[in-house]
Amino acid sequence: MIKQLFILLLAGVLITSCKSRPKEDLRFPGTEMEPGELRISSQAMEEIVQNISSPIEMAAIIKDLGVPFSSQHLSKISTEDRYSTSFNMALSLGILGADLGYLNVYEKTGTSVNYLSAINKLADGLRVSQFFDFNTLKRLATGSTNIDSLMFLSVHSFNQMDEHLRNTDRNNLSALMIAGAWIEGMYFATQVVNQTKDDFLAEYIAEQKITLNNLMVILKNFANDPEFAKLIKELELIKSEFDKVRITYEMGDPQAVEKDGMLMIVQQENSIVEISDGVLNNIIEATAKVRNRLLTM
């Protein structure tokens, strides 16, 4: 009897305690997710940025093809009004950097002095002028005898300015500088291929598809900024043509040859690039339009 009473009492306690427990919220946090911004890590950004084509390489390829220098390819140095925002300054720094590379490759050191002055002002505006030794560069340019050192110091300065922008959390400005340099290099290449119809250069341009895709990844990181959004929209015009380029690969083992104490490796793996004349012409046209619009942005 006592045992039965105890059980009844226990049951009563249990029923009462269940009734008095507050209702739990059964919704789990995080089940409804807002679409977030796509962010890439600083390390990933650095890897991509470091591997955007150097405009020096583009200029050197053009020169190797035997194409004469043309001042018509260069951007005109603008008035200071246009360099009023950091967006414009960084983009212009990239563009003028590519122009300087083109001038140096062709050893047009007289003309390069004007570009050095403009670059110096932009570097000052962006607070990276400590990496641009204007006086030494000007001396080397006006001296015209030490082209190797001029080339080295020009490229090295730009690499350092870019690295400093990234190290001081100004990845957005670094991205703009890279974008400016890329578009100007592409402009040189497309203008030359339009004249020469050179297959080698056409293939080099076509493979910029990969570079542009990488560049867009970086720029889209800042797509919330209206100026970046505008830039991305412009570059999409070029990208839409590059999307029609097809790149495939053939496998092969490298061959090694020793010559004059130097090891030469000739790769046998091959990338096969398919680009129609129509697509190439569209890329040439789109690049010119976008580049010329960016100069007035």
Partner: protein, 127 residues
């Protein structure tokens, strides 16, 4: 970057050859190997372009204890090295005639895992 290092980089870049156009430098400083650890290695990725020949050269700094070795890799294999221990062959630089645009890796370390400082230069080679 100190003026001394910048001057060393410039000299190394210029010494890459009259047919070489400087593109990039790697300044590498590594500590010596510690017991039960792998030798330290500097690693960087690069995009190289088809139909372009690149030169990778090394300049050891004066106070470097170890001798630098540079190795070039594609995504799967080692393509070239400035030092082959099996044969003892050493090269001051490597020319790489690229036929497939893509991402490659450069690794720099020092022989016998010694501490060292070196400058690596990547150049474009004119045809």
């Amino acid at each position: 970057m100190s003026q001394n290092i910048q001057e060393s980089v410039r000299q190394c870049a210029v010494s890459a050859g009259t047919d070489a156009t400087y593109l990039k430098d790697f300044i590498v400083k590594l500590d010596g190997i510690r017991p039960n650890e792998r030798p330290p290695v500097f690693r960087t990725t690069l995009v190289l372009r088809k139909n372009v020949t690149y030169r990778f050269s090394l300049c050891n700094l004066e106070n470097s204890e170890g001798e630098a070795i540079l190795r070039l890799y594609d995504e799967a294999n080692m393509l070239a090295s400035t030092y082959y221990p099996e044969t003892g062959k050493e090269y001051k630089s490597i020319n790489f005639s690229c036929q497939k645009s893509g991402v490659y890796t450069v690794m720099i370390s020092f022989k016998e895992g010694k501490a060292g400082e070196t400058i690596g230069i990547m150049s474009y080679i004119s045809k």
